[in-house]
Each structure stands twice: as C-alpha cells, then as structure tokens.
C-alpha cells in the first residue's frame, strides 16, 4: 500500500469525524491557512515565481487558478485541485514537489476543512502587487546612449565605431591592424554588400581613384546597386525560413512563395526603414488601407511548414504553425528563446508559460489566404467570376501572380497548452506582451486598453517601439555579424541570460540608438559600419593575437570568412561570365544531379531544369524543396529552412572540395572561364608571355588581385603539366573543353586552360572573403 492511499485513509477518517461529530471548528484563514500557504506554496507560486501560472499569495489570482484552470472550488475540497495536489490524490501531481517538506496530515486536513467551509479569504488581505518579474539582465534594460569614448591615438579613428573598438584595444595594449589594400577592400565590400565579386575593370578604377573620398564613393555606388537587395534579402530569408515547398512528408510545392522574396529584395533596395519593414511583415494586412505590397509582406509568416500527410490531426499542425510564428517573431526581433516557455516556464529568462501563450495568442486567430499580387507592369487580374448556384461553395481559383499572405481569421479563444500539448488546453489567455516588458509598454501589460482585444498590429508596433530594449540591439547585432563574422553578441539568436554577454556593450547600445535615431535605415547602418577604420582593417592573422584573441573578439583585425553557399555560386558564375543579372521573379531550377528530387515523397517533386539564362541565375533564386534541398546549398551550410536561422555555420569539408571540383555547375563555370581566358587574352608571337597574361587575367577575375610571381609561376607549371596530359589524350581533352574550340588555341591547349580555370575556382582565397 503506498503512502498516498494511507494518507487518504487518514483524511477520510478525519473528515468523517468532522462530519459525524460536533460541528466543525471554523478555520481562520489569516492565522491558520495563510502561514501554511506562505511557507509551503508561495516560494514557487508567489510574486517572484508563478510555477504553472499559479499564484497563491493573492486572493484574486488564487481563485483564478493556474495554467490548467481553477485550483479552488469553495465548498468542495474533494474537487479542488489544490487539495488533491497536497493530499497526493493525483498520481501525476504531488505538492509540494519531491525534495520539499510535505504537509503533515493535520495540515492537509486543515486545508480540506477550509475549502469545505467555503475557502473564505478576506478581501484586501494581501496587497495586489503587479505581476512583474524583476530583471536586471542587461538585454531587457533600456538602451543607453553612451558617448563615444576618447582614445589615445585619434589617427586610427574614422568614425565613432572606431572609438569604441580602439578604446578597448588600447586598454589591452593591442594595436589595430593596418588598412587592407584597395584590391582587397573592393572585393570585401562587393561581396559583403552585393554578394558579387568586382570585375577587373572595377578593381582598376577603384585602385586608381585618387579622390580622397574614393572609398566613400565606392560604398555609395554599391549601396545603390539593385544587387544589394539580393544579398541582404538572402540574409533575411534565413531568418524568415523561406522555402518553395511545404515541408513534411508530402512537401508540396509553393509556386507563389517567391512573391514574398521579391518583396524583400525590393524593400531592401529602396531602404524601407526597418521599423516599417518589420511592421509590414508582421501585420501589413492590418494597416489602415493596406496596399497589396503590405499584404504581400505578411508572407513572412507564411513560410511556416504545412503538414499535408494523410491522417494528420489538422489542429495539431495548425498549432505547430502558430508556435513557429511565435518563436520566429521572438527570435528574429527580440533575440530570445521564448520557445523554451512553450511547455514550462523559461528556466533562465523571465518568461512564464503564460507569457508564451499570451504571445501565441497574437497569431492564434490568423488564417492563410493567397491573394492576387501582380508585379508592376503585369495586368491586374480580372475579379473572380461570380459563382452561380451550381458551384456554390467552390471557390474560383485566383489568376495571375499570387502571393501567400496572412489575414485575420475568426476569433479564437487561446488557452495555455499544458506541457505544450495541444490536447491539454488550460487557462484562457488574452494576447499580451511578456510581462517583463510590461512596465515599458505604453499602456501596461496589455498593448491596448481594456475591452478591445490586442491584435498582431499592436504587437508589431511594440516590436519597433523605441522603448523596446531588444529589437534595435538585436538588429544591429545581426547586421554586425555579417560584416565581421561574429556578432558583438556572439549568440545573435539568444540575448537572454544563457546567451553570451556583448563584447562591446557600449558600442552595441550606441549603434542601436543611432539606428533608431537615424530612422531605422539599414543602408545608413551599413554605411556607418563599412566606412569605419575597424571594418577596413587587414584580415591577416597576427601571431601576437593567436594566444590573446584567437577568435578575434576585440577586432584588432578583420576576419576571413568562407563565403556562403549562394555567394560562392554567384561568384563562380560571375567570374566565368555566365551569371544572369536578372533581379527578382519566380524561383528557378538550375542543373541538379540525378537522384536528388527522387528523395522526396514518392519522388513527387520533379526537378524540371530551367532553360536559357534561368540556368545561371543567382543562388538565392534556386528552388528550395524542403525534403530534398539543392545539394550544393546544404553542402555549404545554407539553412534547411525548416526553422528560423539568424547565424550560419562555416564548415570546411571534403564534400565541399568535391563540389567545387566536380559539380557540373562548377565544371561549366571552369569551361566558360577557360574559354574566356583564351578569348580575352589572344595569343601573341611570344607564347611564353601569354600563359602568364592569361593567368593574371584569371587571377583578377577570380580573386580581384594580381598574382605574385610565385603564384603565377606555379600556375604556369600547372598549365604546362595539364597541357602535356591533354595533348597525350586529345579525345579526353575535347570532352573536358566541352562545346566548340575557341579561336586562338587548339583543343588540348584550350582544355588545359579549362583545367587551370578550375584550379582558380578552387583556391582558398576564391572561397574566402578576406
């Protein structure tokens, strides 16, 4: 016989005696019950902590109950969860939990008697303290406005950023690195801002530009390029978990998903201020007089997975989508791991489970609709035909370019899901910000006043409210890490107590403050960062820093970063002259090895290769099938796009080597580049010179600089070796060359140049932003 059964016996005896015997003594709440609650319950269910959403130090809260509902049923202890828990009558829930002192049988009996007598709790007997978890964690405190510090060596300062960085370096006794040479700078800038390499002509022009503000001119030219939106759009699409298919088993295609990507590219190109960028994506549909483009922006939250597997519980996967929207919003804008509070109160950060479902509630009532969204120049679709009686209920399919959008659906009562289980709904919650933000929101815990139910638009407005301590910090940090390979907060996805503390907290706040003051302009932020002396430093690894700052946290140099998957593709296509420069539009299917799309459900996702220039478009336009992603992308650490990602790995693997050496796409680039070298550097009488000339041209096309003699000689030797092998096997050489022979070289020679071009496309420097 176990303990609770024994206890139950005792209780029944006690109760029976009470019922049968003399009239029960009335229980005094203040003298008898409250001390008991304070001692045994309030440590976990009080002002500081509300485990399970329950609070027992406050009359109103106590009667409201916890996440799972009411705990007190006045007059009926047997059906009061509070009594059942302390009496051990519920197998799954014994209170106080193991390890804490259990109540004595007499105390349990006292509680029972108190409840059976009506659970009398005099009003006003406990001060109603606002439920505000106190926090001193830096990220939840307001953004400060630190003045840029003074530094000893002002010659190394171009803008305020440098003061913050230099101040720390001077304190550590470390000298910053010299500015990188101009060829490195233009390649760095082009790759960072456009994701494309500079052409040799652009490099020459910049290297020879004698204007004192040549660098600033270059920055402006690049920021104005339409390819800027592609580069930074791709960064954003990682966070937006963009893909062209549903995910899960069926993984059906989403032929209209690209319309959202198109919006992102365009919005970034016109430098839509980040606050509006955020609001339109979260709640563009709810803006007064919402335009089509503002509705298209809500495609952000249409990138969640959809499970169309046979036999699924639709409600389960609807809930999963709302969870994903909640978690993504929290991670992208607040940089917090709110998702941890899905099943229980957050273990480290001040988010209760009830906070979680209050955020969840903002998205709970949404519905998904696809709307006509013609691009400029496309005809406006005709209004849908009026359905006649015959096909009533059958919705006519919209025509033309569509967009996936989010819209307000029927109202829905949101409940806490006990342990995150959609089959166990608990207490009802209203949409609200996490309580930790409540003193900061204009009207208390709820975003708008009593009566009206807060909407996604209220949430969106709070996301970009200048009083919000997180969004600006998180965003400037996200931008910073793209330029330096590491955020000022090295965990861009977690600004909470478990994340890393900022390396330069004042700089982070200064950047965040400036960002907001200067109208949330992303281009302005980029400009500030890339014109700094800090950004322009050489990335050479320094022996004196190896022991002191191997991870380059202090930024006494720039970082060398392996290029992202898409940029590598773009760079190879650009260097070889194959790249299509078209901006925007639907996704494309470049050549993909056989057997990849067969991995999908019953091989349902057919890969019909695109034709013409669509074969060689930039990597961000490649159709992303969630269950069989384009292999090259994953090999180079592109996200799987199932959940929001704000940071990419940069691995270094043999499969990457095989891809760059042998993937038919890169081989095609090598063939094109090889021909280009032959065609653009015609043979002259002295054939000795032409090899070096072609190598020089190839080097400039691929890494943007002149080779040094040693490099040039080594590549010339490679050419000689390969040429000899090609001459020995002319038929193989013809295959390697592919297509027709270029003027100015015979087949073995041209083929050898293809092989040399292939080596250039595999140099460490080629795959690295220096």
């Amino acid at each position: 016989m176990n303990r609770s059964v024994l206890l139950l016996g005792t209780l029944l005896t006690l109760a029976g005696r009470a019922r049968a015997g003399e009239s029960p003594r009335p229980v005094d709440f203040e003298r008898e019950v409250r001390p008991l609650l304070v001692r045994s319950c309030v440590p976990c269910h009080g002002a500081a902590k509300q485990k399970g959403g329950l609070r027992l130090d406050d009359r109103a809260e106590a009667f409201k109950g916890g996440n799972a509902g009411a705990v007190l049923k006045p007059g009926d202890a047997a059906h009061s969860r509070l009594f059942r828990a302390v009496a051990g009558l519920n197998a799954e829930m014994k209170m106080p939990p193991e390890g804490r002192t259990p109540l004595t049988a007499a105390e349990v009996a006292l509680l029972r008697a108190w409840i059976d007598q009506g659970a009398k709790w005099p009003k006003g007997s406990a001060a109603a303290v606002a439920r505000t978890p106190a926090t001193t964690h830096w990220a939840f405190l307001p953004v400060r406005r630190p003045p840029p510090p003074a530094v000893a060596d002002a010659r190394r300062v171009i803008n305020e950023i440098d003061r913050f960085i230099l101040r720390r370096l001077e304190a550590e006794g470390i000298a910053p690195s010299p500015e990188a040479d101009r060829a490195t700078l233009i390649r760095r800038l082009s790759l960072d801002l456009l994701g494309l390499p500079p052409s040799p002509a652009e490099v020459t022009e910049f290297v020879e530009d004698r204007r004192p503000d040549a660098y600033e001119h270059l920055v402006e030219r690049l920021l104005a390029s339409p390819h800027y939106g592609e580069r930074w759009g791709r960064h954003w699409l990682d966070a937006a978990r963009y893909a062209d298919s549903d995910g899960y088993e069926k993984d059906s295609g989403r032929p209209h998903a690209w319309r959202y990507r198109h919006w992102v590219i365009d919005a970034l190109n016109r430098d839509l201020p980040f606050d509006r960028f955020a609001v339109e994506q979260l709640a563009g549909d709810l803006l007064p007089g919402a335009t089509t483009e503002q509705k298209v922006a809500t495609g952000f939250h249409r990138n969640t997975l959809t499970n169309r597997e046979g036999g699924v519980d639709q409600e389960q996967f609807r809930v999963e989508q709302v969870i994903d929207r909640t978690n993504t919003t929290a991670r992208v804008f607040f940089g917090v791991t709110l998702g941890c509070a899905q099943c229980h109160d957050h273990k480290y950060d001040p988010f209760s489970q009830r906070d979680y479902y209050a955020m969840f509630a903002f998205f709970d009532g949404d519905k998904e609709i696809d709307i006509p969204a013609p691009l400029p120049g496309e005809p406006t679709p005709p209004p849908p035909p009026v359905a006649d009686a015959k096909d009533k209920g059958k919705k006519p399919a919209p025509q033309g370019t569509l967009a996936q959008t989010l819209a307000q659906g029927p109202g829905r009562k949101t409940r806490v899901l006990i342990r995150g289980d959609f089959l166990r709904p608990g207490a009802e919650v209203r949409p609200a910000l996490p309580a930790v933000f409540s003193p900061l929101s204009p009207s208390g815990r709820e975003v708008v006043g009593e009566g009206t139910k807060p909407t996604r638009l209220d949430l969106a407005n709070w996301v970009v409210d200048p009083k919000n301590p997180l969004t600006a910090r998180v965003t400037v940090n996200w931008v910073w890490q793209k330029f330096f390979g590491r955020g000022l907060v090295a965990t861009p996805e977690d600004f909470g107590a478990q994340g890393e503390a900022p390396s330069h907290p004042e700089l982070l706040d200064w950047l965040a403050g400036e960002f907001v003051r200067q109208g949330w302009s992303l281009k302005g932020l980029h400009r500030r960062i890339v014109t700094s002396a800090t950004y322009r430093q050489s990335s050479k690894v320094r022996a004196d820093l190896a022991a002191r700052d191997a991870l380059n946290v202090l930024l006494a140099r720039q970082s060398r970063l392996r290029l992202e998957a898409e940029v590598l593709r773009d760079e190879a296509l650009a260097a070889s002259g194959l790249l299509s420069h078209k901006v925007g539009g639907p996704s494309v299917r470049p050549p993909q090895p056989a057997g990849i799309s067969e991995l999908t459900y019953a091989g349902s996702a057919k890969w019909v290769e695109s034709k013409g220039p669509d074969r060689t478009r930039r990597g961000l336009y490649t159709w992303f099938q969630r269950t069989s992603p384009y292999p090259m992308l994953l090999t180079f650490d592109a996200p799987d796009s199932n959940v929001c990602q704000v940071r990419r790995e940069r691995s270094n693997t043999p499969l990457q080597a095989l891809t760059l050496l042998n993937d038919p796409v890169f081989v095609e680039c090598a063939q094109s580049l090889g021909r280009r070298l032959v065609a653009e550097v015609p043979a002259r009488s002295a054939s000795e010179g032409v090899s070096h000339e072609r190598i020089r041209h190839g080097f400039r096309l691929c890494v943007g600089r002149e080779p040094i003699a040693e490099e040039s000689d080594r590549l010339a030797r490679l050419f000689e070796d390969l040429h000899a092998l090609c001459k020995a096997k002319p038929e193989a050489a013809a295959k390697l060359l592919g297509g027709s022979k270029p003027a100015g070289a015979d087949v073995p020679e041209a083929a050898a140049w293809v092989a040399v071009a292939r080596a250039l496309l595999n140099l460490d420097e080629f795959v690295t932003r220096e």
């Binding site: 088993e249 499970n307 597997e309 046979g310 036999g311 699924v312 519980d313 791991t337 965990t491 990335s539 690894v541 320094r542 022996a543 190896a546 022991a547 191997a550 090895p593 057997g595 067969e598 991995l599 999908t600 019953a602 091989g603 969630r626 069989s628 292999p631 994953l634 090999t635 650490d637 799987d640 199932n642 959940v643 693997t653 043999p654 499969l655 990457q656 080597a657 095989l658 891809t659 042998n662 038919p664 081989v667 090598a670 040693e710 080594r714 590549l715 490679l718 092998l725 038929e731 013809a734 390697l736 592919g738 092989a755 292939r758 080596a759 595999n762 140099l763 460490d764 420097e765 795959v767």
Partner: protein, 492 residues
C-alpha cells in the same frame, strides 16, 4: 609516400615551426589544443579525428536499418493468439475513447488477427513470424524490445523523434551525434554514411541531418546510381593524373597563401582537399564487390531478381538486389572505419493489403539482414558493431476501415506499443524485453521510450547520454531531449 601527403606533412612541420617561433611555446600548446591537433592521429585539423568516449565502449560502429512506414509488429515480432481469437470483435469504447487515429473510424473498427504462424527459435525461444525464416536462425544474437512506445503517430514527426530524439525539426540525428562524439576511424571515407533502397524515405534528408551541429557531421548519402558520393567522379575528360596535378598545385598555392595570411582555416582546407582526393579512390574501391567470394554474394542475395509478385509500395525495379547490396556495403564500410551506417527502405506503411506487401518486404530484407549478422559474426565484427532495426511506430491490432470501408486488409498507425530489435555491440543477445497486453494494444512490462532507446545506444558507445551535449542557443542539447534512461536489461 604520396607526393600530396608528403607536401602536407612538410607544410604541417613548417606551420608548426613558424607558429612556435612566432608565438612562443605556450601559444603553440593552446593552438594545438584548440584545433584538436593533439587528438588527431593524422596530425590534420580534422573535426572527424577519432576521439575516445568517457567510458569503455562496447560498440564502435553502428549499422541502423530504418524501415520507414512502420512494419506491423503483430505480424512479425509479437505474436498475439488472443487477437486471433477476438478477430472481428469491437474494442470496448473505454479503450479507444481518448485515442486519436490517422485513418481508423472508431465506431465500426474491429480487431484483426494475424494470418501469420509463429514458432519458437533458438535457445532463447523467441517466437517469430514465418515471414522471417533467415533471421530466425540468428535469434540468439538478437535482443528484441517488444515494449517500445512513442508519442508521435504521424510518419514524419515520428521519424524525427526516432532519429533525432524530438519530433520537431532542427535537431541532429543519432548518426550525427555519434560522429560528433567519436569522430571517424576512417581516413578515406565519411564517418556517417546513408544508403537507401527503393523509393526515397518520406522524411527526405531531415532524418540524417546534422541539425545545429556543423555540417561535417551530416550523413553522407551514398547513391545507388552514378557516383557513390555526390560529385565523386572527375569531370568528363579529366583523368586522375590531371586531378592529382590540380590538387597538388592547389595545395602549393594555398600553402603559399598560408605563409602570408596564417589563417588555420587554410590548413583545414588543404586537408579537406586531400581527403576528398583520397575519397575519390577509396569510394569506388568500397563499392567494387569483385573481391567478395561467390559464397558471400550468394549469402546476402546480391544479384537476386525481384519476385514475380511485386509489392505495390516497397518496390522500384531491382529493390531486392539493391537492399542486399546495401547490406554488404554496410559491412564493408564498417570494416573501413565508418562510424555509422544508416540503411533506409520505404515503405512499410501498410494501411491496406498488409499481408501481401509484408511478404514482399520481408522477402527482400530477411535474407540479407541475416547474412549481415552472420558475416559480421564470422569476421569478429559483431561484438563491436551495433545493428539496429527500427521504425517510427507500430501498427494497430485493429483493422483499418478508412472511410468506413468494409474491405479491411491493413492496419493503422500505432504509437503505444511496437517492437524493434538490436544485435551485437554489447547488447544482451537472446533477450526478449518487455511485454504487451493480450492483443498488443499497450505495453504492460518494461516500457521503453524512444529517448530510453537512445540513452541505451549511447551507453553502448561509452557515453552517459546526459553528458554528450552541444551548446546551442544558450542551452546544452542532447540526443535524449528531456528524458532518457539507459535500459540495463539490454546490456550484456
């Protein structure tokens, strides 16, 4: 010494000497430690360098059969005479009230007995279905777990739970965790290899994904046609001699750059290119079965034709031969030091026509899987190689009456009780763990959750499942998520 290797070791010497003279010995030591150089036998900056687990391991390699779709336990592994007796009866409502089914209509559902006959096998006396005559001869090498249970009852979430420990996306798979924890013993082949037969698994690449671990630990899919590894073959017209010249030149050029820039990533890149080059000859050698005896090929059933009565779902032309070949490749991979081999076959999702489909699939799997166990044993590899047979859940004792259909020939998804088995690698052979009730509805003895299974597997490899963690987004994640307890009764 191969010229590529020679130049690599020369450069490594130069690199270390120069780093030492530049930064002092202390700096060198910390550099070495940070880069894992001291741990690597090969001296390369290699995240896959072999690592010793905290406890003495029983298993050193794993071959994991994943039968995607959920094979029916009551027709294969868990005989239920009572179910046959009750065939055609309704279940009491109290049993189905709170249960969700994918397709079954509760109101008219009836219990469905199994047409299979079961017999005892081996010393352990385990009862097995007549669909598995070959595997039955290995009975005493296997530990059956008849008391598996899971929460997920849809395929993809269930597959994610079984392969990554949670039913959501984004976590590393079991093979990724093990290669992360142990590295790979192979210098020339990937540490984590995936082989598939027939049509693709419904979860696609997500079940062998690296999640938040670096992509180094992702499963590498070996392909059944074309190159064994994606892009393994040189471009048309480019011979091995040209490839060698190219990789040598790249090494020289990158080393020269390294002399100037000193970024250790360059050294890593050189090592990666050299491993890629070695893989180009090692992988074709791996899949070249000409060195195997006729007897071996016969035992596995390599070269078999598909049966005339084709299964409707598990097919694809040549799937019998493909599955047999994959089993043999798994042994060859383990012999060559690969840590984790995942063999996938879809589909076992028999909502209808179960008996015929199961006959087809068992006909495919029974002989080669048994051959693999025997082959590993005779080569002394079974002791250190854990072989797993698993799926995402089981199938209902109820017949499936989708849409009220009266022609009931299949079973629906059943997460409450199902069977899987383990062999080798320190598993207590000849064990039948756990019990289900008389009709196989629920577990009544020794329940084993998916997280418990994972904890047990990690234990066999020398890990405490609570301590093999990876820090991500401020938390230490593990394969067993929030649960898991190693099952002692399964350990030898």
């Amino acid at each position: 010494m191969h010229p590529v290797l020679e130049s690599s070791s020369r450069s490594r010497r130069d690199f270390l000497t120069s780093a030492a003279s530049g930064a002092g010995l202390l700096a060198l030591a910390s550099l070495l430690r940070d880069d894992g150089l001291l741990a690597a036998e090969t001296g390369e900056r290699n995240p896959l360098a072999p690592k010793a687990p905290p406890f003495a391991p029983k298993a050193k390699a794993c071959i994991c059969f994943y039968l995607e779709g959920a094979p029916s336990q009551v027709d294969l592994w868990d005989p239920k005479p009572k179910l046959n007796e009750l065939h055609g009866q309704k279940l009491p409502e109290s049993m189905t009230k709170s249960v969700r089914f994918a397709f079954i209509q509760k109101e008219t559902a009836r219990l469905m007995g199994s047409p299979r006959t079961f017999k005892k096998h081996g010393q352990c006396g385990v009862e097995l279905s007549d669909f598995l005559p070959h595997l039955a001869t290995c009975a005493d090498d296997i530990a059956w777990v008849r008391s598996m249970h899971t929460e997920a009852f849809n395929h993809h979430p269930g597959q994610l739970l079984m392969t990554t420990g949670v039913s959501q996306f984004g976590r590393p798979s079991m093979g990724s965790w093990l290669t992360y924890g142990l590295g790979s013993a192979s210098r020339n082949l990937p540490g984590y290899v995936v082989l598939t037969a027939g049509r693709g698994p419904s979860g696609g690449t997500t079940t062998w994904h690296n999640g938040f671990l670096p992509s180094t630990y992702a499963g590498v899919l070996f392909r059944s046609h074309g190159d064994a590894v994606l892009h393994l073959g040189n471009p048309p017209g480019l011979g091995d001699d040209m490839q060698r010249k190219t990789v040598e030149a790249l090494g020289d050029l990158n080393r020269r750059r390294h002399d100037d820039i000193r970024d250790p990533e360059i050294e890593s890149r050189i090592a990666a290119y050299e491993l890629a080059f070695r893989m180009q000859s090692a992988a074709p050698e791996l899949i070249d079965l000409s060195g195997e005896t006729k007897q071996t090929l016969e035992m596995y059933g390599v070269g078999r034709d598909d049966p005339k009565d084709k299964g409707g779902r598990g097919g694809g032309k040549g799937v019998y031969n493909q599955f047999a070949t994959n089993c043999l490749l798994a042994r060859r991979l383990v012999e060559r030091g690969t840590r984790f081999v995942n063999l996938y076959h879809a589909s076992w999702d028999h909502h209808s026509d179960l008996d015929r489909e199961l006959a087809f699939n068992c006909g495919m799997a029974d002989r080669p899987v048994a051959a693999l166990l025997k082959d590993l044993k005779q080569r002394g590899l079974l002791d250190s190689t854990l072989v797993l047979w698993m799926s995402e859940f089981g199938r209902t004792p109820l017949g499936e009456n989708r849409g009220g259909s009266t022609n009931v020939t299949g079973r629906d998804h059943h997460p409450f009780a199902f069977t899987l088995w383990m062999a080798g690698g320190g598993v207590r052979a000849g064990t039948v763990l756990g019990k289900t009730d008389e009709i196989g509805w629920g577990v009544v003895e020794d329940p084993v959750h998916v997280n418990d299974l994972h904890a047990t597997i990690l234990r066999l490899f020398g890990f405490d499942h609570l301590k093999l963690t990876y820090r991500f987004q401020g938390l230490n994640y593990r394969l067993t998520n929030l649960g898991g307890k190693a099952v002692d009764k399964l350990l030898a």
